[in-house]
Amino acid sequence: MSIQSTRKDLLIMAVFTLAVLTMPIWLDPIGAAYPDLLQKFAIFGIFAIGFNILFGLTGYLSFGHAVFLGVGSYSAVWSFKLLTMNVIPAVIAGTLIAGVFAVVIGFLCLRRSGIYFSILTLAFAQMSYNMAYSVLTPITNGETGLQLTQNDPRIFDAAAETTGLPITELFGMKLSGYPGFYFCAVLLIISFFISLRIFRSPFGLKLRAIKSNQVRMNYTGFNTRPYLLAAFVISGMYAGLAGSLMAVTDPLAGAERMQWTASGEVVLMTILGGVGTLIGPLLGAGLIKYFENIFSSYNEQVLHEIFSFLPDLFENIMVFVVNPFVGEGWHLTLGALFMVIVIFLPGGIMEGWTRLIGLFTKDRSKPDNNTPASAKAQTSEG
C-alpha cells in the first residue's frame, strides 16, 4: 500500500510539473498563453492552495486572507526599495512577514470557531485595509500605493541603473514576460509539493479530523488550538508568497489588495474547484482568472460583432441580455456560476469530475481519499 501511494504521489508531482511548465503551449488554443495571465494563474493558484490548507483541511473559513496578500506585496516592494531588485529577498520577506502577521491574527481569531472566526478574520482584514489608507500611510503610501522610485536607497545594487525605473531580476535575469511566469511557476510547483506532503502527513490527517469532529479530538488527547494556528500560519505564508509574487511581476502595492473582495475571491476559487481536494483550488483559481480575463474584455461593441449573424432585432435583444454579464458586469457571471456550483455541485469541479468518472466505471465503489467529504457523506448516508 505504502509503496503504491508513494508512486502515485510521484506520478501526481510529475504530471503536475509537466502541466505547469507547458502551460504556454497547451493554453495557447484558448487564448490564455501570454505571460500576464499565466502569472496570474500561478500566483492565484498558490493563494488558493494555501487557503485550502486552512479551509479545506480544518474547515475554518477565513474571510480575511487578503491581508496576507497585501502584507506580502508591501514587504516585497520594500525589499525592492531598500535592499535589491533581486526577487529572492523580496519573496522571502513577503512570506515571512505575512507569517508573523498570521501568528498574531490567528492567535486572536482562533479563540472562536465557525461564523465568529470568519467575522473576526473579516474584521481584521477591513481594519488592516483602512489602516493602510490612513495611519500607515508612511509605510503603504496611502491611496497612491507603494511604488519604486529612482531615489530608493537599494543598498545592494545602488549604482546599477541610472535612467528609468529598475526592473525586478533574478541574478541578472530580468523577470518580465515569460521568465517572470517561469519564476512563479517554479514556486507554484514547490507550493503544490508542500501542500501534497501536508495532505499525506499525520499532521494533515489530524487537521481533517479537527474538521470532522473537534469534540472527539479533544477527548482523544489533542490540543487543537496549536494545530489550527499552524494551519492558519501556513496558509497565511502561502498568501504572503502570492502577494510578493504580485509585486515581483509588477512592483507596486496598493491597499485594495487587502479589500474584502480579494478575500472573498479566494473563497470562491476554493469552493468552485472543490474544498479539501488537492488540485481543486488550483482549477478554481485558473478558471476564475481565465473567465475574468475573457468576460471583462467584452463590451457592447464586441457583443454586436458576436451576434451580428442574427437579424438586427434579435441581435439587439441578445446584446441587451448578455451585456450586463460582461465587462464591468463580469462579477454577475461569477455570482451566477458560483450559485450553480454550490447548489448542484457542492464539492465543486472535483466532485463533478468524480461523478463523471463514476458514470463510466460503475464498479469502482471504493471511495477515493481526495474526494470532498461532504459529497461522499451525502451519497453514502442515504
Partner: protein, 256 residues
Amino acid sequence: MEEQKKIVLSVTGVQKTFGGLQALSNINLEIEEGKTHAIIGPNGAGKSTLLNVCVGRLAPDSGTVMFGDTVLTGKTPYEINQIGVARVFQTPEIFPALTLLQNVIIPALAKRDGEFRFNVFNSLSGEKELVAEAESVLEDLGLEDQMHDLSASMSRGDKRRLELAMCLIQHPKLLLLDEPTAGMARHDTNRTIEILKRIKSRGMTKVIIEHDMHVVFSLADHISVLAQGAIIADGTPDDVRGNPKVQEAYLGGAHL
C-alpha cells in the same frame, strides 16, 4: 483483612448544581484497579454529569477527582486523555468524514505524538507500525471488513464499536463508558458484552454507566447506585440487588 486494593480513580466530595438543581451532592467514589465499576440510577440521577466531571467537560462546584496521585479537576479533556483516561460517549463521537482506519489511527497518533506535534514531513503511509496496530484493533472488534469505508455510513451499533476501538488503541488505564449499548439490538448488545469481558481479562479498569441491567449484571464487579444526585447504594452486584433503597428508587425495580 482484604488484600490491598489499588485505587485508580477517586472522587471526593464532588458537588455540582445547575441553576437551582442539585445535580450532584457530595459524591464520594473509589474505583479499584482492574475492576469493572457500574454506575446505575434512574434518568436524571446525575450519572452523565458525574462522568463529565471526571473527564473535565464540567468543572465541579467543589470537591476533587483524583487519578492515582494526579488531580484531574481543573484539567482540560485532552490533558486528562493524555494521562490515560479514555471515554466512550452516549452518542458515538467519531470522525464521520474519515475512514474507519483513519478514525483509529488518529487516537493512536495522540498516544504517540502527545498533545501537539508538527509532523508534516513524514507520510502517513510510511507509518507501518501504526497502521498495523490500527488494523489489528479493528480486527479485534470485527470491523476489519469495512476498514476503508467512511465511518459516516456505518450503523449506529458499528459506530459505537468503532468508538470503542478508538479508545482501546490508546491502551487507557481507565475507560469510561457512557451507556455503551443504548439503542443496540440484543444481538449487538451481547457482542459488546463479549468485547468488554475480553478487555476486562486484560486488566483494564472500566467505569460503565448503563440502563440495561442485563449488561450491568453480566459485567460489573462493583455497582454504585445514584439517585437524585447522591449515591444511595454501593457494593457488589448481590448487595445492590437486595438493597431495598435501590428497589424503591427504581419504583419497584422489576428487573433487579
